[in-house]
């Protein structure tokens, strides 16, 4: 069976989001299917400017076809258009214009999908909100499977997406909350779908003590891993954390790992380590009292799954329905809606090693039940099998 994975960017340098999700799934599914990735030449998600060479490529054993981006994105123009669309009455043409600006605008990719639809059994599209998914699903709707990676983002309410979300033959959701949101918006409960998510692999051995020595971290610490960005709730995290240390006279440290977009407060209790190797990242996570996930918008937090795989508890932002749902289903994390809840939950977590251990064990069990690669691969195979039986 030949399956095309269609995604906005693809490459080893891309270390997060739907792109990494797609790469991991493609790499794991190639033992079951003849997998080919159809993508653009972009590597930067802000401008989508061509970066990779045109044509065929092989990434970790997966063959990749790259298509040029006709027009790079102009971030300011895009921002203005999006603000206009979200704040004003508009027509469908305006939404399509927004989609063109959203990009990555690659008509050659869509043409290829249209012309070679017979060469593939199914097309699995990643991320509903981009140009490739909209026009790709419209071109081959009878063979399309969508991995929406949708968040509670205002653009999902655009009219063009309501129609689009009724077209795929099957869905692979990241979470129960995502499924519920899409079903409510598009009234597409009749379409085949399963909550799958993505698997992750953690190293067998981690070295928390080496991590402490290398980065000179003493005492208890909580860790945040991901892009340090206002959209990820980091601003609120800094505020809450500093208030927490002041109110409780705690000497708890906050360790930040990831690329930095936001200004980080200069404070002895906040340690920014930048972008780390996978080994250091996992060692840091293993040595932490808990992982903090302050993000407001997540369709599936991979780092949360990694924390649970390492038996670490999570303190998550309850205003993100997905994170709250995951914590409740797994019984492996506490959550907060405001500072008072943050203070009490963190106090409880760091004050009891037994609670950390109990939550961590629940997290590991939840991870083993739902997010090991065997489980994920079988779910993908099952969705395609069901589609085949319908034929």
């Amino acid at each position: 069976m030949k399956i095309a994975f269609v995604v906005q960017r693809y490459g080893l340098e891309i270390s997060g989001g739907a792109e990494l999700h797609c790469r991991w799934v493609a790499e794991h599914m190639q033992k079951h299917w003849d997998v080919e990735v159809l993508t653009t030449r972009a590597s930067d998600y802000i401008t989508w400017r061509d970066h990779y060479p045109k044509g065929d490529d092989v990434v970790n054993g997966v063959s990749v076809k790259r298509f040029s981006v006709a027009k790079p994105r102009h971030p300011e123009k895009f921002g203005r258009l999006q603000n206009y669309i979200l704040a004003n009455e508009h027509r469908e043409e305006d939404e399509l214009k927004w989609l063109e600006e959203e990009g990555p605008q690659s008509p050659s990719l869509i043409r290829y999908i249209d012309e070679h639809s017979d060469d593939y059994d199914y097309f699995i599209f990643f991320s509903y909100r981009y140009y490739h998914s909209y026009w790709g699903i419209n071109a081959v709707s009878q063979k399309s499977i969508l991995v929406p990676t949708a968040e509670h983002d205002p653009v999902i309410h655009l009219h063009i997406f309501k129609e689009l979300l009724r077209k795929p033959q099957a869905y692979i959701y990241n979470s129960v909350e995502e499924r519920k949101m899409i079903n409510t918006l598009a009234r597409n409960e009749h379409i085949l779908g399963d909550v799958v998510g993505v698997g992750t692999e953690v190293p067998e051995k981690v070295f928390p003590e080496d991590f402490r020595q290398k980065y000179d971290i003493q005492g208890d610490y909580v860790i945040y891993i991901g892009r340090i960005d206002e959209n990820k709730g980091c601003h609120e995290l800094f505020d809450f954390f500093l208030r927490f240390n002041k109110d409780t006279s705690s000497d708890l440290k906050l360790v930040l790992v990831g690329s930095n977009i936001l200004k980080i407060p200069v404070h002895p209790d906040i340690r920014y380590l930048g972008f780390l190797s996978e080994e250091d990242k996992f060692s840091g996570l293993a040595g932490a009292s808990a992982l903090i996930m302050p993000s407001f918008y997540e369709s599936l937090s991979m780092v949360t799954l990694e924390a649970w795989a390492l038996q670490k508890p999570v303190l998550a932002n309850a205003r993100c329905a997905v994170l709250k749902g995951q914590c409740l289903r797994s019984n492996a994390g506490l959550f907060y809606e405001d500072y008072d809840e943050f203070r009490e939950a963190l106090c409880l977590l760091i004050g009891s090693a037994k609670l950390q251990e109990a939550l961590g064990q629940k997290g590991k069990a939840y991870f083993d039940r739902n997010y090991t690669w065997n489980v994920i691969e079988n779910k993908y195979l099952s969705v395609v099998d069901k589609l085949e039986k319908r034929k």
């Binding site: 959550f335 809840e341 939950a345 409880l348 004050g351 009891s352 609670l355 109990a358 939550l359 629940k362």
Partner: protein, 212 residues
């Protein structure tokens, strides 16, 4: 659930009970929420009044008080010794000394004025703050009263709307019944008309047979 498994933690743990063998995050979060709800709500700290508010404000000085010189004996002795050369010293130093004295006097006066105005500003700000707080409290009360009234009104309108909805529903049902009844009666009248026609024809046929 074993009692030993139910642990209480310190400080925040005096209330939150956790069954470690059967962790239930929803239950823990409910307990955290209940604990927060039971906490006294922190109110903004009142601004302390400026010091010495009760005491009258000292008016700004027009002239600085004369500085009281210490060590006057030594000073007098030195002046005596220097008396013969005093005219020369005065001639050389007086302008500078005079300027310095004047400057110090001016600076001192300015400082006192600044202190006065700063204290006055503090007092005025405190009064403004007090007035604003009183007005905000009054405003809050008025708004809350109005909100309560509005909620009551909304409640009444809700009930009224429900009644109207129920009424219109009943009217529609009754109209539908009447329509059906009307249709049935029409049908009956049509059948009766046909029966009547048939009987007429039969009558005419019988008459024909009788009078043949």
């Amino acid at each position: 659930m074993n009692n030993q498994d139910k642990n209480k933690t310190t400080k925040s743990e005096t209330k939150i009970q956790i069954d470690y063998d059967n962790i239930n995050v929803a239950d823990i979060m409910d307990q955290i929420k209940a604990k927060i709800a039971a906490m006294p709500k922190s109110t903004p700290e009142p601004i302390p009044p400026p010091q010495g508010l009760a005491s009258p404000l000292t008016p700004p000085p027009d002239m600085p008080p004369e500085a009281e010189g210490g060590r006057s004996k030594l000073k007098r002795l030195l002046l005596k010794i220097m008396k013969p050369v005093a005219p020369l010293i005065k001639l050389l130093i007086l302008p500078v000394h005079h300027d310095l004295t004047e400057t110090i006097k001016t600076l001192d006066l300015t400082n006192r004025k600044l202190d006065y105005w700063s204290e006055k500003l503090d007092r005025d700000l405190y009064r403004v703050n007090e007035t604003l707080n009183t007005k905000i409290e009054e405003g809050d009360k008025t708004v809350n009263k109005r909100l309560d009234l509005a909620y009551d009104e909304i409640g009444r309108i809700k009930e009224y709307t429900k009644l109207l909805h129920s009424l219109s529903h009943n009217v529609v049902v009754e109209l539908t019944k009447l329509k059906i009844e009307e249709e049935a009666l029409k049908m009956k009248s049509r059948i009766l008309e046909k029966d009547f026609e048939f009987l007429g024809r039969r009558e005419r046929a019988l008459e024909d047979q009788v009078f043949k």
